[in-house]
Symmetry: C2
Amino acid sequence: MAKYTISFLPHNRTISVEPGTNLLRAALEAGVHINASCGGEGVCGKCRVLVEKGSLEGGGKEKLRADDWDKGYRLACKSKVVEDVTVRVPVESVVDASVLNLAAMPRKTASATQIHLDELKEAGLFIPPVEERYLTLAPPTHEDNICDMTRLINCLRKDFNERRLVVDLAVLRKLPDVLRQSDFAVTVALSRPVRQDGRTRIINVQPGDTTNENYAIAIDIGTTTVYGQLVDLLTGEVLAEHGEFNAQISYGEDVITRIMYAEKPGGLDKLNEVIVGTINKIIGKILAKSKVNPDEVTAVALAGNTTMTQLFVKINPSYIRRAPYVPAASIYPMIKATDLGLALPDHVTALIYPCISSYVGGDIVSGVMGSGMYLSDELTLFIDIGTNAEIVVGNKDWMMCAAASAGPAFEGGGVEHGMRATKGAIEDFSLDPVTFEPMNLTIGNQRPKGICGSGLIIMLAKMFILGVINNQGKFNRDLPTDRIRERDGAWEFVVARAADTQIDRDLTLSEIDIENLIRAKGAMYAAYMTLLTQVGLTIDQIDRIILAGGFGSFVDLESAMTIGLLPETDPDKVTYLGNGSLMGARMSILTNKVRADVVEVTRKMTNVELSEAPGYMDNYVASLFLPHTDINQFPRLKERLDQRNKVLQNR
Amino acid sequence: MAKYTISFLPHNRTISVEPGTNLLRAALEAGVHINASCGGEGVCGKCRVLVEKGSLEGGGKEKLRADDWDKGYRLACKSKVVEDVTVRVPVESVVDASVLNLAAMPRKTASATQIHLDELKEAGLFIPPVEERYLTLAPPTHEDNICDMTRLINCLRKDFNERRLVVDLAVLRKLPDVLRQSDFAVTVALSRPVRQDGRTRIINVQPGDTTNENYAIAIDIGTTTVYGQLVDLLTGEVLAEHGEFNAQISYGEDVITRIMYAEKPGGLDKLNEVIVGTINKIIGKILAKSKVNPDEVTAVALAGNTTMTQLFVKINPSYIRRAPYVPAASIYPMIKATDLGLALPDHVTALIYPCISSYVGGDIVSGVMGSGMYLSDELTLFIDIGTNAEIVVGNKDWMMCAAASAGPAFEGGGVEHGMRATKGAIEDFSLDPVTFEPMNLTIGNQRPKGICGSGLIIMLAKMFILGVINNQGKFNRDLPTDRIRERDGAWEFVVARAADTQIDRDLTLSEIDIENLIRAKGAMYAAYMTLLTQVGLTIDQIDRIILAGGFGSFVDLESAMTIGLLPETDPDKVTYLGNGSLMGARMSILTNKVRADVVEVTRKMTNVELSEAPGYMDNYVASLFLPHTDINQFPRLKERLDQRNKVLQNR
């Protein structure tokens, strides 16, 4: 589709956007600050812009005085871009361009990784774990009355060159009737071995030709959210997907509290029951959405962190949280889906992703498989950001991994107005470098309720760049704004005043909040650095960074590097994997090779116990600054800060 | 123990017996006829003998007149042999010795085959399918916190050179707690693969050292009776055994009526439920008898005919009884015992013996394995006599098999006073060649209730040899005895008069009964001959005959050859396997090699469909005589008959 160009004045900054883009969002993306308190709901009326050339759709006429409307003023948050347009952002004082540009930092999120089915197919790697074959058997006669099973196997040998076959009990049980119901023309489902020397299992037999229906399910068992995808094994396409909160949440927010619950009498059974329930709910929904007959599902793959995996398989997770932090298993055997309580046909076998250690689990292994980093020459740093940050570094020859407990600050925990990325969460933010008035953009363009992870990162970065906070996260109390204030002995910044929020009180960010955020990012940064040091590499030697996990897709990379949540590197080296765990699970139902490879990868991935690693604590303490005690690790930022200081001195 | 010699006069026949042997039984064994109607209960008082030298214990003083007692008369059936003794059998008329000797035919039963544990062990073939290993693991530390599973596997690799291991779900589930309950000293149960290229499964883990307990169970699923044995896998010894009637009997006497019941709605489920119930009852009994903890049972092997196997596995058996008689499967996969409903621990996998065809089932394959004929150079004829006779001929290089429906005559069906071999059944028999007074010996020495298979064979042979019936099974109506009579238009022989029985009426054998018996033995004989002809062999070329099945152990071989139930051969070539099905099942838990071999044996065994085989009907018709239309197939018998005729002519 054709794109339109927006030119912002007085910044002289242009951006190319899709038709229909919201002007306020476009401004943020271009790094242009427009005051906006109400998150884009059109309540505060602050985001006025003047159209100088071209026109906008909408514009919030009812919120503007008629004469202003006629002059060409529009509310940015209520305007859609429908042609090339030039707009002027009013500034309250005359400020020179360099000051304006202090705030300017175009958004740069990581480009997303996709599974390219065509490439898989071309490479001959589209090998579903279960294939179906339609057989027309010669009916038995007095001269040829070998058993049904041998008749079937002989036909598979002769017509399809199938070898090393074994038969499941359920197939034996139905075979005689199915053969005779269908005049000896049947479809068999063949489950391929994971290992070269394994056997192909005949897992199902159906009357007639049903080879046009063959489906599999991929499941990501997240601590918070569980996702499922239904995949057509004939085409590789995802036919339906669905996510549900992990019903274990009622028994504990994070893995540690879940483990503690599992240690109570009946606790493990309960947690197992509810996660199986959640997965079965998802399976039900995606089957219903896609109108697929459950009997035609032939495979399922599941990935989750070590605790989620053990709770799902029903293995006491207690020793995961106790030193020396030992998980029950790394590589799991193939297990019958029904033995795991899954509401799937008897013939389905579940692949459960292997776990490397207590805190580098199947979700990470799955991400490594989904990202393809295990096949690449490039030195890759794989980072899954969350309450626990998991890191993998390496390439096809070697891999090391580690986990750091970062705490839930970036997911809203320990931050007064922190919240998950749901409607009303401030997800993007800017600050006027002169007036320190904010520009809040919320999910759903509603008045703000709180701040989600990506919003917190941007907010922290902006405040630091503009000198609102210093490198210890303390507010500059001398700035000419009443938004910085002391309340109950703690300093805070008023992000949105009560009237502009949905929470009937001022929405703030305090020094206590910031301290928690710095601790969280410090733990992660120390983890990358310690792991890199262990393998004798510096960040410059890394060819690419892969971000996985919940909020990776929305994170503004420059902001993340500004606060030292990510090491400073070329943003183009960073790609976003999305839900790597789900992607890996799906990869393993698209290509059986992944199932064999994952065993090798698991053996290859060496776990580093950070608490035992030399230098980790030093790295952590050094990381408890914005961005770090050693600013030389952030040369681009250092330059920007120098420029900032020059501008501010010249004002 | 020392043996005693009994000398019988006027026959001048001696026999050596164990101390305490019943004199009447000893007489029969020696081929000496003593009139005896009441089966040995001491009621009829006919079996009087005169002690001429030595003495007897007991003797039925209360049944004899005091003066007879003082003269040295004793009731043979109430006398025990306690020293060398000479007894005179009173004869009602003066008959010369050669006439007496017409009846004389010492009993010759087949010698029994045994499993020789010592030989197995010496040959290195005592390889139980599940072995246990006691491991003392190094507990995890911060420096060595690999997962529990890998720790276990590494130890098995290092300390026991175990390779290619996989782990069961149940082991995963209990491993973390078991390790820590026992300070990382545990016993694992390793299930060996059947095939060389298979994997060893870790099926159980227990705290501490439990390697001194490891048991397995062998089950023979008979149509009538189910037997089980509990085997100690450390020594190979049978610790307990138990048999129960197959509870399916309530739903049909034979396989055909069972199949018909299974075809009714819910019928298959019902029959499956009751056979599983019967097996579980047996398992419960042998565990209780041997005081073995069920958790220490690690393996089970089961063998049954094709119908019993399919009903046990819960596979519709309908097509077994319908042309072209196709079974569901030949080789069964290993199946979890609990998936089959067996009351055994979750870790036990069941071996189900393969079936060759609809009427040559797992019981026969098991017998072939148990007998070892598949390992031998000797040309062997394996015969399982029953309602269906199954025959295998061959050696280690090749094998052919067939089944003939003989009908239940020798098991008591279609014979008015036929009965199973339980208490009160006439099991041995003789006839006075002059008076035609019978000598009945019953199981339990009770007054007779009926005649069991071995009794029928001996009775038929005796009557034929003594000219009571001709070669068509018709009575010689001219004989001077009122025991041969016509009733309701059919001729019969009074075996025991009402007063001497438990049934309050005369116990007889009629020409109709005999016709049914001749048809049954004819079907079997035709089967051997047809199969031998197919492979181009004659009976003389056969090195040995193995008898298996229910009444094989009691069959008097000469009698069986006299009536043409067995081909005439040197009785020393005949061995008795006993319950071959149970023996084979036990062999497969003593030596894992049998589990691999049985797959090869199954592939090797070629089934001949007798109904389709040329010559079978002709052979059958020719076999409907005693012993056969072609007496030249029975040269020894021919000679005896010639002698008989000479004796009878000279009288």
